[in-house]
């Protein structure tokens, strides 16, 4: 037994590790393509982005070793502490943070910037896993639900205040986890209805939406009166209450959109909903990125042959818009392959999560699958013009040390937990 436990690689899931390495490698190739320019020689070159990324990748291996060295119990035991530490690092930003592009999301230490929100995801996942895996915990009860939401609420609010609402949105991923662990279905439905109402209100205007909802309400009432009179007599207060809340929600959507959102946020939605088509200024990024992807065609233009990538037509191409490089240089074949790798990667995590014997590991696994999934969905949705512009990175692909390490930590804690599944504790 000793010899097995001394080997830190014992029991780890090599499929996941391989997928991880593949994603990192493909990501770096595309960062290289997006940021290479003339007169720059040498791969390990701290003045170029691909050079830096290579260093971040190199440095992620010691981090992996470090994560694997710790015993699985360490993560269960200190989950709360890690979470609190992470919250502290987020709060600290407001005192020591460095303002980059109007947001204080970064610590700057000796020329290296670190973004604590990238690590907060792992900490929150641990905290949720710890809380929900408690034997006393029952997600059917309102006060326990409240506890779970509180855990998500703190980091999300702190990140929103930076302000980095895109990264805060990632915490909505935990709805999958909580549902998996017994959160009633109507929370999910409520979320879907809220999102749908939001889009409908923006698209058709609040007056029309109110009218439509009123018509729907009358139809529902009539249905109950004619077919389920008994149920109606018991539940008409509930029905009226729900309708009232819906009305308030529709009003508040309009209010938030027109008075709380900034113009740039409104623009992003308006472009997506087809209400504005200004491709020169506000829709420029999306238009460039969609055009770039489309120009790749079926087979792509080949590595380093994408004129639009090499001509720097897409802003932020090596970070949030990295997938447009894949689209242009590797074509449909390449981008479909990347999509498939991500899908397999997420499904693999769920698969492994489901085989866990401890609730803690399973919840943690579910959390990271949801987080990867939400990043993947929002990022590629934005780059292909299906979702509004929300700047969050594509895991393992986008340029940036913090993001890479954050996702690495997220993944390898799970691999460590999984490696321990044979050792009951």
């Amino acid at each position: 037994m000793r010899s097995r436990t001394n080997n830190i690689f014992y029991g780890i899931d090599w499929v996941l590790v391989l997928l991880y390495l593949a994603l990192i490698f493909l990501g770096w190739l595309n960062i290289y393509a997006a940021s290479v320019s003339e007169n720059q020689n040498g791969l390990i070159n701290f003045s170029t982005e691909y050079g830096k990324q290579l260093i971040w990748i190199g440095l992620s291996f010691p981090i992996i070793i470090l994560i694997l060295i710790f015993d699985a119990k360490f993560y269960t035991k200190y989950a709360s502490l890690i979470y609190l530490g992470s919250l502290a690092s987020l709060i600290g930003l407001f005192i020591l943070g460095k303002n980059i592009n109007g947001a204080i999301s970064w610590y700057s230490i000796g020329g290296i910037s670190i973004q604590p929100s990238e690590f907060a995801k792992a900490a929150t996942a641990l905290a949720i896993a710890k809380l929900v895996s408690d034997k006393q915990f029952n997600l059917k009860k309102l006060n326990t639900q409240f506890q779970a939401f509180l855990i998500l609420f703190f980091p999300a609010v702190l990140i929103t205040l930076q302000p980095d609402p895109g990264s805060a949105l990632v915490y909505s991923a935990f709805i999958f986890v909580l549902y998996r662990e017994g959160l009633p279905l109507y929370y999910v439905l409520l979320g879907i209805i809220a999102a749908a109402l939001f889009v409908i209100t923006l698209y058709f205007g609040y007056k029309l939406t109110l009218l439509a909802s009123f018509v729907l309400f009358i139809i529902v009432i009539l249905y109950f009166i004619f077919y389920r009179l008994k149920a109606f007599k018991r539940g008409w207060v509930n029905l009226a209450g729900i309708y009232l809340i819906a009305i308030l929600y529709i009003f508040s959507v309009d209010f938030v959109f027109n008075h709380v959102f900034e113009q740039r946020h409104r623009d992003r939605f308006n472009i997506l909903l087809g209400k504005t088509t200004d491709i020169k200024s506000i829709g420029y990024n999306t238009n460039q990125s969609v055009t770039t992807i489309a120009s790749g065609g079926f087979f792509g233009k080949g590595f380093l042959q994408g004129e639009r990538t090499q001509g720097n037509f897409v802003p932020e191409q090596q970070t949030d818009y990295i997938f447009s490089t894949v689209g242009e240089e590797w074509g449909f074949i390449g981008s479909a392959a990347v999509i498939l790798i991500f899908v397999i990667f997420c499904l693999r995590i769920i698969h492994i999560a489901e085989r866990q014997k401890t609730k803690f590991s399973r919840i943690y696994g579910y959390s990271i699958a949801s987080i990867f999934f939400i990043h993947f969905t929002i990022n590629i949705g934005m780059v292909t013009g299906l979702l509004p512009t929300i700047g969050i990175p594509l895991p393992f692909f986008s340029y940036g040390g913090s993001a890479l390490w954050g996702f690495t930590v997220l993944l390898f804690i799970f691999i460590r937990l999984d490696a321990n599944r044979t050792n009951e504790w």
């Binding site: 320019s37 003339e38 999958f176 549902y179 998996r180 017994g182 999910v188 969609v290 055009t291 992807i293 489309a294 120009s295 790749g296 065609g297 079926f298 380093l304 042959q305 994408g306 004129e307 639009r308 990538t309 090499q310 001509g311 037509f313 689209g327 074509g331 449909f332 981008s335 479909a336 999509i339 498939l340 991500f342 899908v343 997420c346 499904l347 769920i350 489901e354 579910y366 699958a369 949801s370 999934f373 993947f376 969905t377 590629i380 949705g381 292909t384 299906l386």
Partner: protein
């Protein structure tokens, strides 16, 4: 277990949506695969052909080209630069630099736009060596117009940069390119311009040009612009401009046998070279905003005045054609024509015939109002209703090209006005109007408006005894023919036989002792003409003269209009005869008259009017 399925299902769903979206974008949607339109890696380069030259009818070069150098900028390629040095080289201020760069950025960050236009040759020499320091800027060679002869600016017109409106209408043009916006430059834009050549150049991944795109299969060669000759006789034109100096008005001279415009003078004029070079916009604004002299208005084409007495010829010809007068029928004039019972229903006359019989000939050379008023009335009253009579008269008059667009190759023009029956039916909807309501039409006053070129054309039609060619400015186009419509004869409705007696009358205007232009008679040239004095509300009457010469086989028909020139024979008559003399003989023999015309000025009169106008405004 149901609860496991949600995330599974969501992941697979999103994966499929993305695959479909990518398949649509990359495989199905062809909009992005247009090689030239959407391929930002292909740079489009234009080569501009030289614009055609413009010569006069005798081959004198009027418009040529000169080289100029524009500083172009592609904002996204601009790298931090030594602004002070750059501004020094271009002789602009830093604020100007920022303003210009922002303007270029506003237009497009990727497409080159003009940063500074028309740098002088000397500055170019310095710049050329320093340009490598300034990334994103480059020098574009361009050709500008050059006017070797300071004459006829409104005829030649000018070229200017296209604006976004023009680009919308004519997609051929791109921002910063030039287009003829007035005069011949405008009407013959397509011929003078030629066609620009296009080259598609492939850029490599570092945005460097690596050669023609697809071996140049989409490339085209520029087609050079063609030279043209215009019908202007430069010597005559310049002489006309000199004669009109310090007077406002226009001269139009036409060759009756072809319709070619020999001279088209508008005064005040300006030097065409003002429209070239860096000071261009300053100069243009100055000319454009000069609401007192209005130099950009071509008075020969655009000024509508009541024609006055020359119009009596129309009344005479219409009267002959309608059979209401003969060459011998006479009226008696006692200082005017009474057309109603009211006290002021009286048109005074200055023919001073004191009741002796006035026949057609005398009526013309002494310009008798009474005679023509009677004739006009007879024409109108010949028909059952006044409207029909009016229509018959109008038909005869408009057949001389009056009251309608001439449809020629000049970029501007005015219709003028020849009323018909309908016009007055509208004017007097509930009244049975008669000839006396508009009797002043008989003598070219009243509602009638004409432009000098219409009058000149009318004169040409009379000189031709009943037909005219559309007056035009184009004489020759290199390698092709001029439009057919300028070779087409337009017949008037007047029989040829009626012209001779009228022309005799016009001849007697000079020949008879009491002829209104007897003092302008030119020895050795048989000129036929008619003076005119057109009343107007502001200041002195306009001085008008039409003439053609020689009487037989006419070579030139001319109309002269001098604003506020008191009366016909005071300014317009001498100017017209001097022009004819100059054209037919090459020189003039009346130094005293010539000197009086050249140095004479009506500026005092114009100033007086301006002061009066200002006073009126203040009251």
């Amino acid at each position: 277990m149901k609860r496991k399925g949600l995330l599974y299902f969501s992941i697979i769903l999103v994966g499929c949506v993305f695959l479909i979206r990518l398949f649509y974008l990359q495989v199905l949607d062809n909009a992005y695969h247009n090689p030239i339109k959407n391929n930002s890696a292909v740079k489009v380069k234009y080569s501009y052909p030289e614009r055609g030259y413009i010569y006069d009818r005798n081959g004198v070069l009027l418009v040529a080209n000169q080289l100029s150098y524009d500083i172009m900028v592609i904002p996204r390629e601009v790298k931090p630069l030594d602004t002070i040095e750059f501004c020094d080289l271009l002789k602009i201020t830093k604020e100007d630099f920022i303003k210009r760069l922002n303007r270029a950025k506003h237009y497009s960050t990727r497409i080159p736009s003009t940063f500074l236009a028309q740098v002088s040759k000397n500055d170019y020499a310095y710049l050329q060596e320093k340009m490598y320091k300034f990334h994103g800027f480059y020098i574009q060679k361009r050709t500008l117009r050059k006017y070797p002869i300071n004459s006829a600016p409104n005829v030649l017109g000018y070229i200017s940069e296209v604006n976004e409106n023009i680009i919308k209408q004519k997609p051929y043009y791109q921002l910063g390119e030039l287009i003829g916006t007035a005069g011949v430059e405008k009407t013959y834009e397509n011929i003078l311009r030629g066609v620009k050549g296009v080259q598609f150049i492939q850029r490599n991944r570092f945005n460097k040009e690596i050669g023609p795109y697809k071996n140049g299969i989409y490339d085209t060669l520029p087609v050079p612009g063609k030279d043209i000759n215009i019908t202007i006789d430069t010597k005559l034109q310049q002489y006309g401009e000199a004669l009109m100096k310090n007077k406002r008005g226009g001269i139009v001279a036409i060759e009756p046998s072809t319709g070619e415009i020999l001279a088209l003078v508008s005064s005040p004029t300006y030097n065409p070279n003002l429209m070239v070079g860096r000071e261009r916009s300053k100069n243009f604004t100055k000319l454009y905003l000069d609401s007192i002299n209005k130099p950009l208005i071509d008075r020969g084409l655009q000024a509508q005045y009541p024609p006055g007495s020359p119009f009596k010829i129309m009344t005479a010809l219409a009267g002959l054609q309608e059979g209401v007068i003969t060459t011998t029928s006479a009226v008696h004039c006692f200082g005017g024509y009474r057309y109603g019972n009211r006290k002021n229903a009286f048109m005074s006359c200055h023919c001073e015939t004191h009741g002796s019989p006035v026949n057609l000939d005398k009526a013309i050379y002494r310009s008798c109002n009474t005679y023509f008023a009677t004739t006009y009335r007879k024409i109108i009253e010949k028909y059952p209703t006044s409207a029909e009579g009016m229509n018959a008269w109008s038909k005869d008059v408009t057949s001389f090209g009056l009251g309608k667009f001439l449809n020629n190759d000049l970029s501007v023009g005015k219709k003028g006005l020849i009323p018909n029956g309908n016009y007055y039916n509208k004017w007097y909807p509930n009244v049975r109007w008669t000839a006396t309501y508009n009797i002043s039409n008989a003598i070219g006053q009243g509602e009638i408006l004409t432009t000098p070129i219409q009058l000149a054309n009318m004169t040409a039609a009379i000189a031709n005894r009943g037909f005219y060619y559309t007056p035009h400015i184009i004489e020759k186009i290199q390698g092709t023919t001029i439009p057919k419509k300028f070779k087409k004869i337009h017949k008037t409705t007047i029989d040829k036989k009626y012209f001779e007696p009228v022309i005799n009358g016009l001849f007697d205007v000079f020949e008879k002792k009491h002829g209104t232009a007897h003092s302008s008679k030119v020895n050795g040239i048989e000129i036929c003409g008619k003076t005119g004095t057109s009343e107007n509300t502001h200041g002195q009457d306009h001085s008008i003269f039409i003439a053609f010469a020689p009487k037989d086989n006419p070579k030139i028909a001319i109309a002269v209009f001098v604003e506020n020139g008191y009366w016909g024979s005071r300014w317009a008559g001498p100017i017209a005869t001097l022009m004819i003399e100059k054209y037919l003989k090459g020189k003039t023999n009346r130094p005293y008259l010539e000197n009086r015309m050249l140095t004479g000025s009506l500026q005092d009169e114009y100033d007086k009017q301006l002061i009066e106008e200002e006073n009126e405004k203040q009251n």
